[in-house]
């Protein structure tokens, strides 16, 4: 791979575009792993976070307020700290060391999942609470049980919840601290877009870093545009 001096930004940019256009293999591998890790993490986080958030919004149980406060506070968890905790859990001496997951994509999925579950849970708690205020009397009138109420509110809030999930994905795919620590940025194994950008930049290999940066920005923009489009479309359709 050719090296360029730091000042030669235009050349780096041109090379980045070139890599994008001819679908560079290394680039493709890194983007693919990024998507696999972050989509898996967001899927798991949704499975945990949606019912958790809805339960916090709907049910009165001991410690409910504490859980709600924690979820809200944990929306802003620093990724490096999450990475550190997962590292400690998965390291050979840690409680889950026997699983041998450290420095694998699985470890990265776990870390990102921990990072974004509070986001998805807290946002869905808000959505479900709003909807419950509107539906409460009607659902009690229809004799819906607690479980049925939870499922109904999650389903009827599906489009707003989708934007919560997109927010989680946006955070997962863009974070670098957690995947760096638990994944180790190993070439052809655990290297994702953000860790590759960090590494290639420090090595002065700006073309690859820029190409990845462009893709990352496009993804982030795309996610936000999709969230806005979903919100507008459903507001028009479902009120």
């Amino acid at each position: 791979m050719p090296r360029y001096p730091l000042t030669d930004l235009t050349a780096a940019f041109a090379l980045a575009l070139d890599m994008l256009l001819r679908v560079d293999r290394d680039l493709l591998e890194i983007v693919g792993l990024s998507l696999r890790v972050s989509l898996s993490a967001v899927g798991l986080a949704a499975l945990i976070g949606l019912p958790l958030g809805a339960a916090v919004a709907l049910f009165r149980f001991p410690g409910r307020l504490a859980v709600h406060a924690l979820l809200t506070a944990f929306m802003g968890l620093p990724p490096v700290v999450v990475g550190l905790i997962v590292y400690l859990l998965l390291s050979r001496a840690g409680p889950l060391g026997v699983l041998g997951l450290l420095f694998t994509p699985a470890a990265m999925i776990i870390a990102q999942c921990l990072l974004i579950t509070p986001i998805i849970a807290a946002l869905s708690a808000q959505t479900v609470a709003d909807l419950h205020e509107e539906y409460d009397e009607q659902l009690r009138s229809l004799a819906a049980g607690p479980g049925q109420t939870l499922v109904t509110l999650l389903w009827d809030g599906r489009f707003r919840l989708l934007t919560a999930i997109l927010a989680g994905f946006g955070r997962a795919v863009a974070e670098v601290g957690a995947v760096m620590i638990v994944g180790g940025n190993i070439n052809h194994a655990t290297r994702v877009m953000t860790t590759a950008i960090a590494l290639e930049t420090s090595k002065g290999n700006l073309a690859l870093a820029l190409a990845l940066g462009i893709i990352l920005i496009a993804l982030a923009l795309g996610v936000n545009l999709a969230a806005m489009a979903i919100r507008d479309a459903t507001r028009a359709r479902y009120g």
Binding site: Y135, S141, T152, Y238
Partner: protein, 241 residues
């Protein structure tokens, strides 16, 4: 869905509701029998909606008793339905809204569709079955709410000012639907502040003022010769306060 014993009559004994030091419902006693259409009439703020919610079990009285002849609990809850002033429709299609209570009651999937189709046709909504419920017109939404309440064939249907936000044509369609539901054997308990509507629909009137049941009379007698001064004033169109 026929069951051996009726949950009616519904007996209210000195039912009282207080909130923040105010008495909103003041010692109402009444029996609601299985037959007919009972209209709860009175000016705004009389406590009509609260009384309906107390009967339906959405609110608990702070004093007094509400007893169904059919006992208490799940069975009684499932044998009644309520239509609210502003219909709360699920963010799904019209047909899915009607399917929903059947799903809640565990009606087998195969048996649902026929009931849904019948309820939609009954409410004149067959053409909009697949449209999202919340884009329907106000009148259609309220007819859908009634169809959804009726699809489980409740013994009692509570309606809280179901036409208060609707134009005359839509109101007429709603009233016809309510009469049809009553003819099919469902007890109607409905609030209104609209005298004309009470005349058109009522078998008996429960006249409420300041949270008290001032009189309860057969509709014909009520409109010919109300027994209380307040009811007489209300019928004349005076503003009660």
């Amino acid at each position: 869905m026929a069951e051996a014993t009726s949950i009616l009559p519904l007996r209210l004994t000195s039912v009282t509701l207080q909130a923040r030091g105010q008495t909103l419902i003041d010692g109402i006693s009444a029996d609601l029998q299985a037959a007919g259409r009972s209209l709860i009439l009175g000016p705004n703020g009389a406590g009509k909606s609260l009384l309906l919610r107390l009967c339906h079990g959405l609110l608990r009285p702070t004093a007094g008793r509400i007893d169904w002849a059919g006992g208490n609990g799940e069975r009684v809850r499932r044998r009644q339905a309520m239509v609210f002033q502003d219909p709360v429709l699920l963010r799904r299609s019209a047909a899915a809204n009607i399917r929903y209570p059947l799903h809640l009651r565990g009606i087998p999937r195969g048996e649902r569709q026929a009931a849904v189709d019948e309820a939609l046709a009954h409410a004149g909504l067959g053409a909009v079955a697949d449209r999202p419920a919340r884009v329907l017109s106000g009148g259609e939404q309220q007819r859908l709410a009634i169809a959804r309440a009726w699809v489980t064939r409740p013994e009692v249907l509570f309606l809280d000012e179901p036409t208060s936000n609707l134009d005359p044509a839509a109101t007429r369609a709603i009233e016809e639907l309510i009469l049809a539901v009553a003819r099919a054997g469902t007890k109607i308990v409905m609030t209104t502040h609209d005298l004309g509507q009470a005349r058109r629909l009522a078998d008996e009137i429960l006249f409420l003022h300041h949270g008290r049941l001032l009189e309860r009379t057969a509709a014909a007698d009520f409109f010919a010769a109300p027994r209380t001064a307040e009811a007489a004033a209300f019928l004349k169109g005076d503003l009660l306060c």
